[in-house]
């Protein structure tokens, strides 16, 4: 199996296969109340405490749509550079399940609220466009709990009726890296827009993965299988890898791939068929007669357009132009709205005479390392943008050396301390007075006469020895540039 960055191919004795992937991402809409009822959407509540009569499908209960959820879907559509459909229709998707109280899910089948769009992926070997087929609004189901009671399945309807956006990609993805980058990019766009928090642990973002394989260079699509409800990027990649190989094995054995829905078993790291064929689903979609067509005006859409913030692709372009960042640096800084906010705040706090490169290095280097270690989001950073800006300025204006800065940084973490104060308190200010340094160096040369002679005779390696001695004698505070200059002169 080949797994290099731009190609994901499965090789067998005589054939090489390409993997074709499409994703149906289910993103929970950020809203206070549910799509068709006024119950709370808050995560983590006691079971069945956020369930209204509508959510539990009591007789005679009717859905009434939440305007904010409609706006969120349209904003997301704008973020995906997609066509917004001024008229869309809610349909019922009929099937029986314990956590589906109505016996149908209200979704949009024929006429979704958002049509075709695109997402741009920044891959190491350049940009790649992934087509978006559609985005539609639908209700989430409740939760079946199978492991609390040995005899029964318990049902919690807190999630029942929460608004979801289903974002369907075209089968444009080809590698596991693209899948990961695509999910991250979608998540990033929605977080910029504030339309989905993208929290995969809480189930705010999950995906059904469509996988098919075909001979390399073939133009036709193979039979696809849909792997349901995968809730992490890692599991998506594992599931795709297993599934693609399973399909290739079937083809190689001359067998037929059934178009079916499969489940990814995390423990066994395999996919398996979810339902027998004779019980094949026939969802009997039809327009929900309790709801009229959803119509939005141009003004409504334009008003939403005016609220759209600068999105990652535009921000990246601006960062490159305005701050002279490399594409790589810019990609990292715009990948998450909070990171970009932090970065821009550091820049603004640095004031005039700023060293942007240095700031970028400190954010993506030291700061990211700390966040990673402590498992924190940048919004929870122990060091504020203001203090990080001060630290970078202290280095830039020569008050401290980079080495001392690292010591100060460590001290700043505890309680977001002001680096200026640490410098003063601990007397860590860099020694840049040439007279003081000359005296210090004179003493070192005097103490190491023989080595000085050896250096003069051509043993140039010894220069480093003198620099080290000088730094040591200054307690690390000596300005390294000045030390170099003085040593060259004196030796």
């Amino acid at each position: 199996m080949s797994k290099n960055k731009s190609e994901y191919l499965i090789e067998r004795t005589n054939n090489i296969y390409e993997v074709v992937i499409g994703l149906e991402v289910h993103a929970q809409v950020t809203s206070n109340s549910k799509l068709f009822s006024s119950s709370s959407t808050k995560f983590g509540a006691e079971p069945n405490t956020q369930v209204s009569l509508v959510d539990a499908a009591f007789p005679g209960m009717l859905p009434v749509i939440n305007e904010f959820c409609v706006k969120q879907a349209i904003k997301t559509g704008i973020g995906l550079r997609a066509k917004i459909n001024k008229r869309s229709v809610f349909d019922r998707k009929n099937y029986f399940y314990a956590d589906l109280p109505q016996g149908y899910q209200i979704s949009q089948f024929k006429y979704p609220i958002v049509g075709e769009g695109t997402v741009i992926l920044d891959m190491p070997d350049g940009q790649k466009e992934i087509g978006i087929e559609r985005l539609h609004l639908e209700q989430d189901a409740g939760k079946s709990i199978h492991d609390m009671d040995p005899q029964n399945t318990l049902v919690d309807l807190n999630r029942s009726g929460v608004a979801l956006m289903e974002i369907v990609s075209k089968p444009d993805l080809r590698t596991l890296e693209e899948v990961s980058t695509y999910i991250k990019k979608l998540r990033s766009i929605m977080r910029y827009l504030g339309t989905c928090d993208g929290n995969m642990q809480e189930g705010s973002l999950r995906a059904d993965v469509n996988v098919s394989v075909r001979l390399k260079d073939s133009k036709e699509l193979g039979t696809r299988c849909e792997i349901k409800n995968v809730n992490s990027i890692k599991f998506m990649q594992m599931a795709i890898d297993y599934e693609a190989n399973r399909q290739v094995d079937l083809i190689e054995d001359g067998k037929i791939i059934d178009q079916e829905t499969r489940l990814f078993d995390i423990r066994k790291n395999e996919t398996r068929s979810m339902r027998s064929k004779e019980d094949a689903h026939d969802y009997r979609y039809f327009p929900d007669p309790d709801l009229l067509p959803l119509e939005v005006s141009d003004e409504f859409i334009n008003e939403l357009k005016s609220t759209i913030p600068e999105l990652p692709d535009d921000k990246k372009k601006r960062f490159i132009e305005e701050f002279k960042l490399s594409a790589y640096e810019a990609t990292i800084l715009v990948s998450d709205i909070e990171i970009s906010k932090y970065f821009e705040e550091v820049i603004s706090k640095m004031g005039k005479n700023q060293d942007i490169k240095l700031a970028v290095n400190w954010i993506t280097g030291e700061l990211f390392a700390v966040l990673n270690n402590k498992n924190l989001e940048i919004a929870e950073s122990p060091i504020s943008a203001e203090n990080l800006a001060k630290l970078v300025n202290l280095i830039k204006n020569g008050t401290i050396s980079g080495k001392i800065a690292k010591t100060i940084f460590e001290l700043m973490i505890d309680g977001d301390r002001d680096p200026q104060k640490i410098v003063e308190e601990k007397g860590l200010k860099q020694e840049s007075d040439p007279k003081a340094l000359e005296a210090l160096i004179d003493k070192i040369i005097n103490d190491n006469r023989e080595k000085a002679i050896e250096y003069k005779q051509g043993k140039e390696k010894l220069f480093g020895f003198f620099v080290g001695q000088a730094m040591k004698a200054s307690g690390g505070k000596a300005n390294p540039q000045l030390i170099n200059e003085i040593l060259k002169k004196k030796l």
Binding site: S33, E46, Q50, V155, L263, E295
Partner: protein, 95 residues
């Protein structure tokens, strides 16, 4: 049009209504006569007609995004057939 037993069994499965042989035969007979009556629609040419879903000629009205429903778990669960104060209970589902 006549509806056969196989079709009856298929739609009874989709409807989650169990049918035995006797019931299936009666249903096949009833539905066949009903569909014969329905077939009359085929006399009409409707190629250029827009389907009518609702006679209410307005568009959907919006609700504002406010949480108004409180915790009414007791009310919600009260009518359920199984005794459990926190959850709805169904026979074990094996996925």
């Amino acid at each position: 049009m006549s509806i056969d037993l196989k079709t009856i069994k298929h739609i009874s499965k989709l409807s989650r209504i169990s049918v035995d042989e006797q019931k299936a035969e009666k249903l096949a007979e009833d539905l066949s006569s009903i569909f014969e009556f329905i077939e009359k629609l085929n006399q009409l040419n409707t190629d250029k007609v827009e389907p009518l879903t609702s006679v209410a000629e307005t568009s959907l009205k919006f609700r504002s995004d406010e949480v108004k429903s409180k915790n009414i778990r007791e009310q919600i669960i009260k009518n359920s057939p199984e005794d459990n104060k926190d959850f709805f209970v169904v026979p074990k589902v094996v996925e």
